[in-house]
């Protein structure tokens, strides 16, 4: 990522945070309209989770079908770490909103619970990885698990919440400025995600190179 891009990201994020907290009008129809603006931080995080999850599964698929390149496995793993991180952020921002709006951090709301289960899946993914010594087997098993979970979880994120009554607001009192805030934040977070992903993959590449070097000796 170029230096310019990084500084745009840094300043841009500072800017949008100021916008969210100072300029954005309080959301109508909520218990605490002032604090409901955290939604502008909550939704973009959730979208990054989707992006990261997709990438983790896609790189896993690549690993299995394009010649078992260890770099693909590394990319998948890094994306999974980031998916878990953003999942955590989504849950936390959501919990703050829940506390303000409904009085409790946790409500067993279907969407809330589903994103939590996604977190569990990633935790299980890393647990699975840590139990396998052979790197090739580890990569294959991890890829299969993330693909298997990836296929089953759209049901988690879509069908189940649709069936059940949810606390999540549907068409809330947001005006157009919220849309700007949300989409700008999403774009900036995507930049952050891309930066983190690239750093992670580069570290993994270094690790692989060091391992190869050790083996040569």
């Amino acid at each position: 990522m170029t230096k310019v891009a990084k500084y745009i990201l840094g300043l841009g994020m500072a800017g949008i945070l100021a916008y969210i907290f100072l300029v954005l009008p309080p959301a109508q129809g909520f218990v605490a309209p002032e604090l409901a603006r955290i939604v502008a931080l909550h939704l973009p995080n959730a979208m990054i989770v989707m992006v990261a999850s997709f990438m983790a599964a896609a790189y896993g698929f690549r690993y299995l079908t394009r010649g078992r390149n260890p770099l693909d496995d590394a990319k998948s793993k890094v994306a999974a770490v980031l998916a878990m991180l953003f999942c955590l952020l989504t849950t936390v921002t959501g919990a703050f909103f829940a506390k303000v709006q409904w009085g409790a951090y946790w409500n067993w709301d279907p969407k809330q619970t589903c994103i939590f289960f996604l977190l569990l899946i990633y935790a299980a993914y890393f647990l699975l990885r840590s139990g396998i010594e052979d790197p090739e087997k580890r990569a294959a098993v991890a890829a299969v698990y993330i693909l298997f979970a990836g296929v089953m979880t759209p049901m988690l994120g879509y069908f189940v919440p649709k069936q059940m009554p949810s606390l999540h607001p549907k068409n809330a009192g947001f005006d157009a400025s919220y849309n700007t805030a949300i989409w700008t934040t999403t774009a900036l977070l995507l930049g952050l995600f891309a930066w983190m992903q690239s750093l992670g993959v580069r570290s993994e590449r270094i690790k692989l190179a060091l391992d190869a070097r050790d083996e040569e000796r």
């Binding site: 500072a14 945070l17 100021a18 907290f21 100072l22 190179a209």
Partner: protein
Amino acid sequence: MTGMMPLLIVALLIWAGVFVFMLGVDRKVSALERRLGLDDDSRRVSAKENSL
């Protein structure tokens, strides 16, 4: 609206921390890459030198 200022300051501090941390990691990773000869610039240079 000014009630939001403290929250904004906290958010900005958190972001500043994250950003600085990321820059630090970036620097370290680049340094390691340079040492191992993994970075694209040195590879491109050496490829050029080889083709000459």
